[in-house]
C-alpha cells in the first residue's frame, strides 16, 4: 500500500533532532535506513504523525575504535560496517552476522542503529549486541546516558529508549586474544529472518574456555542469553559431550513462539542444533584466528 499521510522533518544536527523529538515525543518515528519502518508505514502497523529523518545528520555515521571498544554511529549503513576492516579485525562476531542481514539491497540502506532500535527479536544484530554486552549511547534534552544491552531490549520491537531520546551510537567490545566466534542461523531463504539464530563467542586461554557467550535470535520476544549453558562451559575444555550438554541446558527452559515457519517444538530442536554447531564452529574459529 501507499504510505499514509505523515509530516516530515529532516534535521541536519543531533541537537535539532533532539529538539524535534522533545516536541513530538511518541507521535514521532525516527527514520534511519527505513528498511523496517517504511514497511510498517505501508502496512499501517505504525502511524506516526511525524517522521524525523536522520539521514542528513553526518555526525551519526562512522566507525571509530577506541581503547577496547569499537563505536559505530547509529546511521552507519550495514553495507559500510560489512566492508569495514576495523569491524572485521576487532568485532568478528558482528562481521560474521552482517552479511546475513536481509538482502544486498536492504543492507545498502539499512543501518546499525536502526536495526538495534527497531529490536526485531528474530534479527541478527540484537543477538550480537546481547551476546557481546554492547552499550547503547542515547541523548535527550536532559542529557546523555549509556544503556547496557541487557537493559536495552525490553520486549517485541521495544527498547528502553525514551520517546525524547535519540540513539547516537552503539559500542561493541573488541575481541580478546583467544576469541572464537560463530553466527549460526536457519532461515527459509538466504536473507530471510532467522527461524532460529545464535550468536556464539568463546574465549580460550591455555585450551580452557575462559568466557562463553551465547545469544539466541527468534526464540523469544527479544534476544536472550543462554546463561545456564554459558556457566557450564566456563572452565572446561571443548568436547562433543560438553557441547551436547550445553545445547540441552541452553534449550531446557525456553518456549519459543510458533508461526507458519515452525512450531515451538521445531524451534526448540533447531535451537539445540544451533548451539552444538555454533560452539564447534566458534572453537574451530579460535584456532584459525590464532
Amino acid at each position: 500500500m501507499k504510505l499514509p499521510y505523515v509530516e516530515y522533518e529532516a534535521p541536519t544536527t543531533v541537537a535539532e533532532a533532539i529538539d524535534l523529538l522533545a516536541e513530538h515525543l511518541d507521535q514521532a518515528s525516527v527514520l534511519a535506513g527505513g528498511q523496517s519502518l517504511i514497511p510498517l508505514l505501508a502496512l499501517r502497523l505504525a502511524r506516526p504523525a511525524v517522521l524525523i529523518d536522520i539521514n542528513g545528520i553526518d555526525e551519526l555515521s562512522g566507525v571509530s575504535a577506541t581503547d577496547g571498544w569499537v563505536a559505530i554511529g547509529a546511521m552507519t549503513r550495514e553495507y559500510v560496517a560489512e566492508k569495514s576492516e576495523s569491524v572485521a579485525d576487532t568485532v568478528p562476531l558482528l562481521a560474521a552476522a552482517l552479511p546475513l542481514i536481509g538482502h544486498e539491497a536492504i543492507r545498502s540502506r539499512g543501518t546499525i542503529g536502526g536495526s538495534l532500535a527497531h529490536a526485531d527479536p528474530a534479527a541478527e544484530l540484537p543477538a550480537v549486541a546481547r551476546a557481546l554486552d554492547a552499550e547503547f549511547v542515547v541523548r535527550g534534552q536532559s542529557g546523555e546516558r549509556v544503556v547496557p544491552a541487557a537493559q536495552w531490549f525490553e520486549g517485541y520491537l521495544t527498547t528502553s529508549r525514551r520517546p525524547d531520546e535519540l540513539l547516537l551510537e552503539v559500542r561493541f567490545p573488541t575481541a580478546r586474544r583467544g576469541t572464537g566466534i560463530s553466527f549460526q542461523e536457519v532461515a527459509r531463504r538466504h536473507g530471510d529472518f532467522a527461524i532460529v539464530g545464535l550468536a556464539a563467542s568463546l574465549v580460550f586461554s591455555g585450551g580452557v574456555i575462559s568466557d562463553a557467550r551465547l545469544a539466541f535470535a527468534g526464540i523469544s520476544d527479544m534476544p536472550v542469553r543462554a546463561a545456564a549453558a554459558e556457566d557450564l562451559l566456563v572452565g572446561e575444555r571443548p568436547s562433543t559431550e560438553l557441547f551436547d550438554e550445553a545445547a540441552r541446558r541452553a534449550t531446557g527452559d525456553v518456549d519459543p513462539p510458533a508461526d507458519l515457519h515452525g512450531s515451538s517444538d521445531y524451534r526448540n530442536t533447531v535451537a539445540a542444533v544451533m548451539v552444538r554447531r555454533g560452539l564447534r564452529a566458534a572453537a574451530d574459529n579460535a584456532r584459525e584466528r590464532q
Binding site: 500500500m1 501507499k2 504510505l3 499514509p4 499521510y5 505523515v6 509530516e7 516530515y8 529532516a10 527514520l31 527505513g34 528498511q35 517504511i38 514497511p39 508505514l41 505501508a42 502496512l43 517522521l51 529523518d53 539521514n55 553495507y79 536481509g102 538482502h103 544486498e104 539491497a105 536492504i106 545498502s108 540502506r109 531463504r189 538466504h190 536473507g191
Partner: protein, 156 residues
C-alpha cells in the same frame, strides 16, 4: 511538498513530491519512468530495485525526498543508445524472462552486484539475487543470464 533536485539516468530532474511518496512512485508517476515496477510495496519482492549512488536499493523503501542530490539509475538508463546493456543482452540470450514483471528489479540488482563483484560465481550470484522474487519461478534461466553477463564482461 518538498522541492528536490536529483540526477536520474544522467539527466538533472526536479520535482515536488509529498514527503510520503516513495522513490518508486516518484520515478513512475512524476518522471514517467515506468520501467521500475512496483510489486509488493513493502520491500519483499525486489521488483522496484534501482541503483542510487552506486548501490542497489529498493525504491519502495526509500522516500523520493531522500533521493535529493543523489544519482539514480533505473532500467531505462542502462542502454541510453536504445540497444541493450551487457546484463540485458545476456539475459535476453538466456531466455531469462517469462512474464517480465520482475525483470527490471533483477537486472538492476545484477548490474549493481556485478560492478562490485566482476568475478562472482554462481553461488554468490544466487545470494545476491536472493532478495528478488520471480513468481513465474524462472530462477534458473535468470541465474544463467547473469552468469553469462559476468563471463562476457570479464572477456572485455
Amino acid at each position: 511538498m518538498v522541492d528536490i533536485t536529483l540526477r536520474v539516468n544522467g539527466a538533472t530532474c526536479t520535482g515536488s513530491p509529498e514527503a510520503r511518496k516513495t522513490l518508486a512512485d516518484f520515478l513512475r508517476d512524476d518522471l514517467n519512468l515506468t520501467g521500475t515496477h512496483v510489486g509488493c510495496e513493502h520491500g519483499v519482492c525486489g521488483a522496484c530495485t534501482v541503483i542510487v549512488d552506486g548501490r542497489a536499493v529498493r525504491s519502495c523503501l526509500m522516500l523520493a525526498v531522500q533521493a535529493a542530490d543523489s544519482e539514480v539509475t533505473t532500467i531505462e538508463g542502462l542502454a541510453p543508445d536504445g540497444g541493450l546493456g551487457t546484463v540485458q543482452q545476456a539475459m535476453w540470450d538466456s531466455h531469462s524472462f517469462q512474464c517480465g514483471f520482475c525483470t527490471p528489479g533483477f537486472v538492476m540488482q545484477a548490474v549493481a552486484f556485478l560492478s562490485d563483484h566482476p568475478d562472482a560465481g554462481e553461488q554468490q550470484i544466487r545470494e545476491a539475487l536472493s532478495g528478488n522474487i520471480c513468481r513465474c519461478t524462472g530462477y534458473q534461466s535468470i541465474i544463467d543470464g547473469v552468469l553469462l553477463a559476468a563471463e562476457r564482461s570479464r572477456k572485455r
